[in-house]
């Protein structure tokens, strides 16, 4: 029988850091410009797919880059930085290619319908929004917001991965890495869906009024991730 209380007491720092990682993912999702189905028809600002798909794409890339760095070094800073940058590159490429499609394919200028002036470039937005749409394309503020959001997501994901892998146990290394990765992916999906319910499926970035709702999702993610982190640490620590 596994000594559950002992494992939780020994690895309490890991549980806290995994929970913190989940909270970072939840916050990061609020910053990524998710347009959902309307954006796929160029009728809303953001990338034309759901939160989960965007977060999963960025998060899994972050895990791959973090895992690659983990292969070379044990330094937490380098592993986490590698995961962060991997996720940022992934979302930046996704947004850039999406932008090409909106500009050259659909033929609409990137414009936000939520603010009159872009908070970063100060360009006028409302004149360029087509009638009957909620903006289109990915304006500069949304792009920068998305890169920051993916960075937070990648940071959170690679922290979960790193702290799962620093739990002491008797598993063969290959099994340990496999289990830690799939566990991190599971947590990533849970923490990507919770904020997406909070924002109702679409958000433009930090300038969107919906962004102010983020404390609710952060709290929800905190509770859900804490529970899952205890289960993960007990399962892996008891092996």
């Amino acid at each position: 029988m596994i000594d559950i209380v002992g494992i939780i007491a020994d690895d309490f720092l890991n549980i806290l850091m995994i929970t913190f990682g989940g909270v970072l993912i939840s916050l990061g999702v609020h910053l990524v410009p998710v347009g959902g189905a309307p954006a796929a028809m160029a009728q809303a600002t953001g990338v034309g797919t759901g939160t989960v798909q965007l977060a999963a794409g960025a998060g899994l890339t972050g895990l791959v880059t973090a895992g690659f760095m983990m292969n070379a070094t044990d330094s937490m800073g380098l592993v986490v930085a590698s995961g962060t940058v991997g996720a940022m590159i992934m979302i930046a490429v996704t947004m850039l290619v999406g932008q090409w499609l909106y500009v050259y394919g659909v033929g609409c200028p990137p414009a936000s319908a939520k603010v009159k002036y872009d908070p970063i470039t100060k360009d006028r937005q409302d004149l360029y929004v087509s009638q009957g749409t909620e903006g289109h394309g990915i304006p500069t503020a949304s792009f920068i917001s998305g890169v920051i959001g993916a960075g937070l997501g990648g940071l959170g994901g690679s922290m979960i991965y790193f702290y799962l892998l620093s739990i002491e146990n008797g598993l063969p290394e290959a099994d340990f890495i496999g289990i830690a990765s799939i566990f991190a992916i599971g947590l990533f999906f849970v923490n990507a869906v919770i904020p997406s319910y909070n924002i109702g499926g679409t958000i433009e970035g930090f300038h969107d009024p919906k962004f102010k709702r983020f404390p609710k999702a952060v709290f929800a993610s905190l509770v859900a991730t804490f529970l899952a982190a205890i289960m993960g640490v007990v399962a892996i620590g008891g092996m």
Partner: protein, 281 residues
């Protein structure tokens, strides 16, 4: 903009409680039957695990149908990914800690996380869907049964660790056979798709429960065939029977779905061949 759903309760011909019983009992019976009969009869009995997973998939699809009918605002796929995300966490925990009771522990703990997420969604995120809590419990539980069932049918066992005697591996466990090899990713997507896709494909004002669930059976059968292909390279499980039964179930599911499409549609007509170049000019 809310994607899908009429903003109200869904009409159901089969009461949800019957489907819950079908999913839980059918799923667990299938998984345990596979586990014991593989030992007693032979590796080819591993197909029972996939049948258990199909029970879980149909249950999950029915629960997704009920909750997504209120309009989640994010599209239906998110809830399927949430189900499998919770399911994979609970399954790792349940199988690692539970031993022979692993599938039950996984189901219980998946329901527990589902309960917490459901309460948070309604109380903190103010989603205001009356059946959210019950549905999240059901969806998470169905995700766990799907993962355990498909893993059992791939490996012939749900024991988590390799059985080692005198330094030799006697039988491979789920940890090294499904998780380390990466087949868990196949389960994740095939199982998640089977739970989320049926309602996503059928949603609309003319959505009918039996048509949606028939599509769930068809998607579950595809997951079963894939599990059979994986099982064919594992010693503990045999793939041929899993693939054959999977193909038969797929045919039943697909023809049943197509019959119901023809029943519910105003008319089904063929488009004929494309007009030739001369006809167009």
């Amino acid at each position: 903009m809310s994607a899908g759903g009429g903003g109200g309760g869904a009409h159901e011909a089969i009461p949800q409680n019957n489907i819950i019983a079908f999913g839980v009992i059918g799923g667990l019976v299938g998984i345990y039957a596979a586990y014991f009969l593989v030992d007693m009869v032979g590796p080819y009995m591993s197909f029972l695990g996939a049948l258990g997973a199909i029970c879980g998939i149909i249950w999950g699809a029915a629960a997704v149908r009920r909750v997504a009918n209120y309009g989640l605002g994010t599209g239906v796929p998110s809830i399927g990914m949430l189900a499998l995300g919770i399911g994979v966490i609970a399954t790792t925990f349940g199988l690692a800690v539970g031993g022979i009771a692993g599938p039950v522990v996984a189901l219980v703990f998946a329901s527990l996380i589902g309960l917490v997420v459901g309460v948070l969604a309604n109380k903190v995120l103010n989603m205001g869907i009356p059946i959210m809590v019950q549905s999240m419990i059901e969806i998470a539980g169905a995700g766990a049964i799907t993962i355990v069932g498909l893993s059992t049918s791939m490996m012939g066992t749900f024991v988590f660790f390799d059985e080692i005697a005198n330094g030799m591996i006697i039988s491979q466990g789920v940890a090294s056979g499904v998780m380390t090899t990466g087949y868990i990713a196949v389960i994740f997507i095939a199982g998640g798709l089977a739970i989320l896709h049926p309602f996503n494909a059928n949603l609309g004002p003319d959505e009918k429960q039996d048509r949606t669930l028939m599509l769930a059976l068809e998607k579950g059968a595809i997951a079963m065939i894939i599990a059979g292909i994986v099982a064919s390279i594992n010693e503990g499980a045999s793939g041929s029977l899993t693939i054959l039964i999977g193909l038969a179930l797929w045919y039943i599911g697909f023809s049943g779905f197509y019959d119901r499409v023809k029943r519910d549609a105003y008319d089904v007509v063929g488009t004929g061949m494309l007009p030739s170049k001369e006809e167009l000019e």
